[in-house]
């Protein structure tokens, strides 16, 4: 396993995440796709820390922070989605909802 494999995996994950984010009809699915994108980034950071950094500590610690912060973000995002669901009765991202000009 080389840095090359790590970056390739990270790129694949990113592509899957972006595709899911743009195509999922449900906001929950969009949130999950964002999580995938975030993990692609984490994988990238760890890969570089392991293979090419002189001191891998910082690179190993950074994804831990990212995961903690994204967990908080998800909590907030879910709360917003619940409120949205109560108000609108659905979570369909394709139905126009007052965002059009």
């Amino acid at each position: 396993m080389t840095l090359y494999h790590c970056v390739a995996l990270s790129l694949i994950l990113l592509a899957i995440g972006v595709y899911g984010m743009l195509t999922r009809p449900n906001f929950i699915g969009v949130l999950l796709s964002i999580e995938v994108i975030m993990n692609a980034a984490n994988l990238n950071v760890i890969g570089f820390a392991h293979f090419s950094a002189q001191d891998p500590t910082a690179g190993a610690l950074f994804p831990v922070f990212v995961m903690a912060v994204s967990a908080c973000e998800m909590a907030v995002a879910l709360a917003i989605l619940i409120a949205l669901f109560r108000g609108k009765g659905h979570l369909d991202s394709r139905r126009p909802g007052g965002l059009h000009g």
Binding site: L22, S93, R94, G97, G98, L99, H100, G101
Partner: protein
């Protein structure tokens, strides 16, 4: 020395303003007796203050010619606008013989008209508004006559115009009243726009607004040069003077801007009375007199003033002979008398002395004297006409006749006023008219003097026609039986006293103190003894003719004469179609010829450009509106694509 004058002049000026504020801001909430009390108390106090100011001025200034050689005193002045480092407009109070005379005159007339209005306006729903506006009118006119500079004069000049507008249109439910008030305002504003240009021109040339510097022969001499406008040479003083005089022209309703004054009678009669006697119309004559030292530098200007005055005097007297509406007769009579005043001011120019910086002082004092005597008898005539209208509920002479038994006090008042205005010895009009004719004669202006004499005869004729047709002859069938109003008769009786005596008592004061503040030419011509005889004779001739034609109440002979002169009679009766000519000029030439193309340009070109710009932006918006489609995935996708594009651009740049 001056301090004792501050309080009474300020009180005389600001008491009417206070009355206006109190009445205007309590609109409709005060009971009628309180409104009556306020209006009477404030106008009476203002009159007392004016009398105090006048007597103090007389003692402090006129009796001390060594201290005040120009007889003028600035009572109070304060800086108001520093327009440029050298040109400052101030506000203040200024007294000279003519301002003091007007101060007394305005407050007296305003008080008497207020008393009269209590009776006349008794049943009017807008009782409070009437007295509020009347007080404001008195305030504006007092501010005008006591203004120390031409800019303050202009401010109060416009205030007077606004007040007359509001009062002429007082019964705004009547379309005729609304039309008359609009006409008065527009015609005088038309003249005032030239006046404003004149003020700007003179102020920019002389760097002052103050009459004490502006209205002097020195200033006039400084402007005595030619300037080129559009390749033609113009005399600067004449141009500036004509512009300023244009304001007076409109305000004093000289021909052909006289058209507003006969219509102004649509207002309540007390308003006509005060407009025609002490406020509004005499403002023009007053300002011409104030500026006389300035105007006198240009012989052309004084000739214009004299010509306009003479023509208006004759024209209006001719029209007055044929009118059947009693207030209209009086309105044309006012025009005629104003013409005589202007004639007198123009007569300041001595024909045989081309250098015009020395004038005939008698002309100035005669004009002011005529303002003074005219105010009393004209106010009296209008108040009496109002009382008659109140009695018979019509303005038409045909509805009147034989009223002398039911209205004895009014009968006496009108008789006194008619004798006075006809210039019959020894009543007040005789003295002032004689002074005017004498001034014109001494200045060598023979034609105006002779026309003035003829106008005197015509005046006597139409005034006694008015008198006989109202009070003598048979009464119409449905003759009303009522009594004179207890509020309306006393002012009529009181005014009869100055109408009879003001001339005899005032003549020495005017000839000795009321002189223009400029060099006065020594006159060689003595007082021709035949002149007073001729002027009384003319008056008596007019009276006699009116008696022969109208005294008996048998109008068959009059009808015969008018039938024989039918075309001429119709022309004069229609006031020479001047109103129609003015309407033609405004409606057809200005509205259609000038305003309509300008309107088209504004609507199509100016508005079109702006509307086109708006439409362009709307079309642009429509082109990009589809981007904001409300689809969240689309927005997110755009973000991602944009980011990728940025990365690619960044990569390509390196």
């Amino acid at each position: 020395m001056v301090d004792p004058l501050v309080l009474p002049t300020a009180l005389a000026l600001f008491l009417p303003l206070t009355a206006f504020l109190l009445l205007a801001f309590s609109q409709g909430r005060l009971p009628r007796p309180v409104i009556t009390g306020l209006a009477l108390a404030f106008s009476c106090l203002s009159m007392v203050a004016a009398y105090t100011a006048a007597s103090r001025y007389y003692q402090a200034v006129l009796l001390a010619p060594a201290d005040f050689p120009s007889r003028a005193v600035v009572v109070f002045t304060g800086q108001w606008l520093n327009l440029t480092p050298t040109l400052t407009a101030s506000l203040g109070l200024f007294l000279d013989p003519i301002a003091t005379m007007m101060l007394v005159l305005i407050t007296t007339i305003a008080f008497l008209v207020t008393v009269y209005s209590v009776g006349y306006m008794d049943h009017d729903p807008a009782y409070g508004r009437f007295f509020a506006l009347l007080s404001l009118f008195a305030f504006s006119m007092l501010g005008l006559v006591m203004a120390p500079n031409i800019l303050q004069t202009y401010i109060f000049w416009e205030l007077v115009g606004v007040c007359s507008y509001a009062l002429i249109g007082f019964w705004y439910q009547k379309p005729a009243a609304v039309a008359a008030s609009k006409k008065a305002f527009i015609v005088t504003r038309f003249a005032d726009s030239f006046f404003l240009l004149g003020i700007i021109l003179t102020a920019s040339l002389t760097n002052t607004f103050d009459f004490e510097i502006l209205a002097t022969t020195g200033t006039a001499a400084g402007l005595d040069r030619a300037i080129a406008i559009f390749g033609h040479d113009f005399h600067l003083l004449t141009v500036a003077g004509l512009l300023v005089f244009a304001g007076c022209w409109g305000k004093s309703a000289m021909f052909p801007l006289h058209i507003w004054l006969p219509d102004a009678m649509e207002g309540p009669t007390p308003v006509s009375s005060i407009i025609h006697s002490a406020t509004m119309v005499v403002a023009g004559v007053f300002l011409t007199a104030r500026m006389l030292p300035f105007f006198a530098g240009s012989a052309f200007l004084l000739t214009t003033i004299s010509t306009v005055g003479t023509f208006t005097a004759f024209f209006a007297a001719l029209v007055a002979i044929t009118q059947v509406d009693i207030k209209r007769i009086l309105a044309f009579s006012t025009l005629s008398q104003l013409g005589l005043m202007m004639l007198a001011l123009g007569a300041a120019r001595l024909v045989d002395q081309p250098a015009a910086f020395a004038v005939n002082g008698l002309a100035y004092s005669a004009a002011m004297f005529h303002i003074f005597t005219h105010a009393f008898f004209k106010c009296l005539l209008f108040l009496s006409a109002g009382a008659v209208i109140h009695m018979v509920h019509s303005n038409d002479l045909a509805a009147m006749g034989g009223l002398r038994r039911s209205m004895p006090w009014t009968y006496g008042g009108v008789l006194a006023a008619c004798l006075a205005i006809s210039g019959i010895f020894p009543f007040s009009g005789f003295w002032s008219k004689d002074a005017i004719l004498l001034a014109a004669w001494q200045s060598g202006q023979v034609v105006p003097a002779m026309i003035g004499l003829g106008v005197g005869a015509m005046t006597a004729f139409y005034m006694f026609r008015f008198f006989f047709l109202i009070f003598h002859g048979p009464a119409p069938a449905n003759h009303p039986v009522s009594h004179e109003n207890p509020w309306m008769s006393p002012p009529i009786v009181i005014l009869a006293v100055p109408a009879l005596l003001a001339g005899y008592l005032g003549k020495d004061w005017f000839t000795s103190f009321c002189l223009p503040p400029m060099p006065i030419a020594a006159l060689h011509a003595a007082h021709p003894a035949w002149l007073p005889v001729a002027s009384t004779g003319a008056g008596l001739a007019g009276l006699l003719l009116a008696w022969l034609l109208y005294g008996s109440g048998d109008l068959a002979r009059v009808r015969g004469i008018t039938a024989r002169l039918a075309p001429l009679y119709r022309l004069v009766y229609a006031k020479f179609y001047i109103d129609e000519a003015c309407l033609f000029v405004t409606r057809t030439i200005i509205f259609l010829g000038v305003a309509a193309p300008i309107k088209w340009f504004d609507r199509q070109v100016v508005d079109g450009t702006m509307n086109g710009l708006g439409r362009l932006l709307q079309a642009g918006g429509a082109m990009v509106r589809w981007v904001q489609n409300g689809q969240l995935p689309f927005y997110l996708g755009s973000t991602v694509l944009g980011m990728i594009l940025l990365l690619i651009i960044n990569a390509l740049r390196q």
